[in-house]
């Protein structure tokens, strides 16, 4: 019986069907490859895995039970596998088709299987491990079927096929190496154990395996590649993309002659067929050789690839890609993945009642090639294993996020093109928030606080909201804002808005930040600022002397403890940033002997210790000292606030709290000197000090407000978090405590912080940034993460992967959206009150905590007037 695939395959072949089963040639074989059976011993049934070439040059992968091979042929198999292939081309009986696997009879030969290489979709490679020495490969076919797992029992081999003295090659690796000579094998960057065979472009993109076939300069001819059965056209397609064949890695070009030699030896003469085959194989090995761009692009994208030895030549064991560890995070992720794969294989082993043992679980679907999912079967066993396996889910969630990100990007590109198209015809705008369509559905069955609102309307209207992000403020623009006395000609609100929208070019940060961090009054002249710098320096050094020159303070136990605490943290703050990296000074702090220090680290310590002195003073004391040092005091914002507002700050009296060093480092680095670094830090702490209050009330209220925001803007996410017992939002704690310092790279932190400094839309804009990041990942969280710990892990691991610009854009859109909801609710309540005279029962009030977030808008609009 022929398999459908095989028939289709045959129809496509140029040569007559009748020649198909004439004396296939054995190109590669490996003995002691086991397949599980229902009747055999625990080990399963031993057999040979082989690569076979039919007389019409079709390549077939087959597995034949030992017991099913006729005596004569068996010798061929054994010879080839033990002697190497250089001088032997053997002819064997035609292999069986996958049909046999499902026949239900238990005759050994019924387990034999063979498939054309062109029908292979992917391989799942489980290399041998210390505990499980055999290792296995599962082969997935284009049609969605999978072959049974092949277990490579290398223990049974008396000697490896490698060069004398070299360690034996794992059979699976060997098979991969040989396969690679015949078809294109691409490692998935996302699933390093997964290898795609003659993958389509889409699959390559999905797997992050930047296709070797599509260098940036050549447009993909996917039409050609989408016909995997047409070997010639595949080869041709590749060749046209790689005109410069001479540059191809030698392994590829040597390979074909090596095979030809074998052909010649075996047949004694060069036949026409031999010539034809040589041509076709040469093309194949060129186009499929890792040298032909495959390896190159793989290393560029960080995706693994198999380095391939020459065709049929014995080589020392080539390291499998996952053995090249890159960094700890990647490692962790990889370990998790192996855990999952291991689990799959375990399950597959004990529920082998079908040839395909791929399990139907939501998360399974993420890991398997899409078409395989069709074949996925219910398995309670699998669910049991997977259900409480949190790290697997976290891993899969991450994987899903990368895929989603990719499609998100593509979607945005399409949108952008659409927008351009429309705008060229004079209409249209685009929304930064692309997920509004999804939201409409989310609201339909939710009883959100919006109650009877027509949310559909709201959603439709909200899609029209856009962000206003633009370029950073340039030095030229900045200097043009000042009159000849050096006083700002434009309004403070205007500057705030500009900085909110685009940030500041780095060169002028040192100056602009001083306005935002309350060092310079907005209406100061240049002369006043010069005077202020002097008085600020004086004031700072006076504060510093209070501990620096006073041995009694220094001997104080509490001071010592603070000092130790600060030293511990300073020495582990931003040490990768060159400003703090060097170890040019000895380290005098007790705790880190052996680790050097540098001037900037020492200054960080001094600033933090001095800040303790400053924070311990009551505002009136500060104002007094401020008065003393700067006689002609300007209407300094902080001083005004200090004298007028409540003098009590008992919360902060306890000094340094972890996280402060994270906040100080960037402002100090931007200011570049101790005095201004200190005052900039004071200014920043004015905005963030509530985060460090002993009773944590500042963090608590922010998290509560964020929670309310989620409830209003994304009821479905809210419900999910509720279900996960994650409404405390502790997974956002680090974000808010230190303003995302650990989540973004250094340069991004400066860009983010100046937006937060601006207070343009909201004085709590960090909450909208947090909301934007959650929003970006909300689908993943809802679909994949099922507990507080999983969400925490996922969110923690987002660190250094978040796109800042996108987050800021989305944060602004979310702000507008919230504003819109507030307006809607107010209007609705107003109408209801007017019509019924009764204060709206149906529409609850917009949460006051959220309304406060929106206040800044009105303030700044007022100020602008």
């Amino acid at each position: 019986m022929e398999n459908d695939l095989l028939i289709a395959q045959m129809e496509d072949l140029e040569l007559e069907q009748s020649t198909l089963f004439v004396q296939p040639k054995l190109l590669f074989t490996r003995p002691k490859v086991y397949v599980e059976t229902t009747t055999n011993s625990k080990e399963g049934m031993p057999g040979f895995i082989s690569l076979i070439e039919t007389s019409n040059y079709e390549h077939i992968l087959s597995w034949t039970p030992e017991a099913a091979i006729p005596g004569l042929d068996q010798d061929s198999y054994v010879d080839i596998s033990s002697e190497g292939e250089h001088d032997s081309t053997r002819f064997v009986a035609p292999p069986r088709t996958p049909e046999a696997l499902r026949s239900g009879s238990f005759h050994p030969s019924d387990y034999a299987v063979s498939v054309p290489l062109q029908s292979i979709y992917s391989l799942l490679v489980y290399p041998p491990r210390i505990k499980d020495r055999q290792g296995s490969i599962i082969i997935n076919l284009n049609g969605g079927e999978s072959l049974p797992a092949f277990y490579f029992h290398d223990d049974g081999l008396t000697k490896g096929k490698g060069l004398p003295g070299s360690p034996p090659t794992w059979g699976g690796q060997d098979l991969l190496n040989h396969l690679e000579q015949l078809v294109e094998v691409v490692g998935s960057a996302i699933e390093p154990g997964v290898y795609l065979v003659n993958a389509s472009r889409a699959d390559k993109i999905n797997h992050g395996a930047a296709s070797p076939s599509f260098p940036a300069s050549s447009p993909p001819s996917s039409g050609v590649l989408d016909h995997p059965l047409r070997e010639d056209s595949v080869a041709g397609g590749h060749e046209s993309l790689y005109p410069d064949i001479s540059s191809i890695n030698q392994a590829g070009s040597i390979a074909a002659p090596a095979l030809d030699a074998a052909t010649i030896t075996a047949t004694g003469s060069i036949t026409v067929e031999g010539m034809r085959r040589r041509r076709s194989l040469t093309e194949n090995s060129r186009s499929n050789s890792p040298g032909a761009g495959h390896q190159q692009s793989a290393s560029a994208t960080g995706s693994p690839s198999i380095s391939s030895p020459g065709l049929f030549s014995g080589r020392p064991r080539t390291p499998l890609p996952f053995e090249n560890h890159i960094d700890p995070l990647v490692n962790t992720v990889k370990e998790m993945r192996w855990n999952i794969l291991e689990r799959f294989s375990q399950v597959a082993r004990f529920s082998r009642d079908a040839a395909t043992n791929i399990l139907d679980h939501p998360i399974t679907k993420q890991i398997l090639p899409p078409h395989v999912q069709q074949r996925i079967q219910e398995s309670e066993a699998a669910k049991r294993v997977m259900d409480d396996y949190d790290s697997a889910r976290v891993y899969l969630a991450k994987w899903a996020a990368t895929v989603a990100d990719q499609s998100d990007k593509e979607r945005r590109e399409v949108q952008e093109m659409e927008r351009l198209r429309k705008s060229s015809s004079g209409a249209g705008s685009h929304s930064a928030h692309g997920r509004s369509g999804r939201r409409i559905n989310d609201y339909e069955d939710e009883e959100g606080p919006l109650g009877a609102f027509n949310v559909l309307d709201l959603e439709t209207e909200c899609t029209m909201i856009h962000h206003s992000r633009t370029d950073p403020l340039s030095p030229m623009d900045w200097f043009s804002f000042f009159d000849d006395q050096g006083r700002l000609k434009v309004s403070e609100a205007h500057v705030r808005e500009l900085v909110f929208r685009g940030g500041i070019e780095h060169d002028i940060r040192i100056e602009v930040w001083k306005f935002f961090l309350n060092i310079y009054p907005w209406d100061s002249t240049e002369a006043e600022r010069v005077a202020l710098r002097a008085s600020k320096a004086e004031e700072y050094y006076a504060l510093k002397r209070e501990w620096f020159d006073d041995t009694s303070v220094q001997e104080d136990e509490a001071f010592q403890e603070q000092k130790l605490r600060i030293e511990k943290d300073v020495h582990r703050t931003d040490r990768t940033i060159s400003f703090f990296a060097s170890e040019t000074l000895p380290n005098f702090s007790g705790d880190f002997t052996g680790v050097g220090s540098n001037e900037n680290l020492e200054l960080l310590k001094d600033i933090l210790l001095t800040y303790n002195i400053w924070a311990a003073k009551s505002p009136s004391e500060r104002a007094a000292s401020n008065d003393k040092t700067s006689k002609s005091l300007l209407s300094d914002a902080s001083a005004t606030e200090a004298t007028s507002s409540s003098p009590v700050e008992p919360n902060l009296l306890e000094g340094y709290v972890q996280g402060m060093s994270d906040l100080l480092a960037p402002v100090f680095a931007v200011m570049g000197d101790e005095v201004m670094g200190f005052w900039a830090f004071v200014g920043l702490m004015e905005k963030t000090k509530k985060n460090f209050y002993r009773d944590q009330v500042g963090m608590q209220s922010q998290l509560e407000t964020l929670c309310k925001m989620i409830r209003v803007l994304d009821p479905k996410l809210y419900k999910h978090l509720e279900k996960c017992e994650a409404l405390n939002l502790f997974f956002c704690f680090r974000w808010l405590l230190i303003w995302f310092k650990r989540e973004f790279e250094w340069v991004d932190i400066m860009r983010l912080w100046e937006v937060l400094f601006s207070d343009h839309l909201s004085t709590q804009f960090q909450l909208f940034v947090a909301m934007a990041i959650l929003d970006k990942h909300r689908d993943i969280m809802i679909d994949h993460l099922q507990g507080f710990d999983e969400i925490l892990k996922y969110v923690n691991d987002l660190s250094m992967t978040i796109d800042l610009e996108e987050s800021l854009q989305n944060a602004e859109v979310l702000y507008r959206r919230l504003e819109h909801v507030a307006d809607k609710i107010d209007t609705k309540r107003q109408e209801q009150t007017e019509s019924s005279g009764n204060v709206a029962d149906t529409t609850p009030e917009f949460p006051p905590a959220l309304r406060k977030l929106l206040k800044a808008t009105h303030l700044s609009t007022e100020m602008a007037k």
């Binding site: 855990n339 409480d388 705790d591 972890q658 409404l727 502790f730 704690f733 680090r734 710990d789 905590a849």
Partner: protein, 204 residues
């Protein structure tokens, strides 16, 4: 059946800031050391699969912020813990002296069933430093551990990977024992929500 269920052991590492909690966790799970781990903010965890008495279990090891200021977050992080690791720095007397309060605070916040039998393990870290810096003798630490119901005690160096494996083996073992006891006590996974403390969170 309880034994067929996948076992997840939740382990919480507590102790003063800078005693090496993150380093111990990373040394154990990733076999790596760096003296520049940033101060932990909030909490994080790593998982590791281990064999304990021929049983494959997953350890979920929670690394927490060391400053007592952040202890109020503990409620969320400590819940369901199977073992608590108290870490101090043998060269820092204060970090030893605060062990007691870390232990008490843990018992209050995690409110485990049978607090008197809850498994703790004490680790004295940084034994790689020169002997002259040492502030807490082994004898003193062991005496304290004994007085607290024979808490197992280990002296380790996360930096040089001394004794880390052994300490975590014991941690895993004791955690598993705790987990098994809990399973026996409560064969049905009934959720008790009444005591979910709401220091933080959304009351909207």
């Amino acid at each position: 059946m309880a034994s067929r269920k996948k076992v997840l052991l939740k382990v919480i590492i507590l102790g003063e800031s800078g005693v090496g909690k993150t380093s111990l966790m990373n040394q154990y799970v990733n076999k790596k050391f760096s003296n520049q781990y940033k101060a932990t903010i909030g909490a994080d965890f790593l998982t590791k699969e281990v064999l304990v008495d021929d049983r494959l279990v997953t350890m979920q090891i929670w690394d927490t912020a060391g400053q007592e200021r952040f202890q109020s977050l503990g409620v969320a992080f400590y819940r369901g813990a199977d073992c608590c690791v108290l870490v101090y720095d043998v060269n820092n007397a204060k970090s030893f002296e605060t062990l007691e309060s870390w232990r008490d605070e843990f018992l209050i916040q995690a409110s485990p069933r049978g607090p008197e039998n809850f498994p703790f393990v004490v680790i004295g870290n940084k034994i790689d430093m020169e002997e002259s810096k040492r502030m807490i003798s082994q004898k003193r630490a062991m005496a304290w551990c004994q007085s607290k119901g024979n808490i197992p005690y280990f002296e380790t160096s996360a930096k040089e990977a001394i004794n880390v494996e052994q300490a975590f083996q014991t941690i895993a073992k004791n955690a598993l024992q705790q987990e098994v006891e809990v399973e026996i006590d409560f064969p049905d996974p009934i959720k008790i929500d009444s005591d979910t403390s709401k220091d933080f969170g959304c009351a909207c």
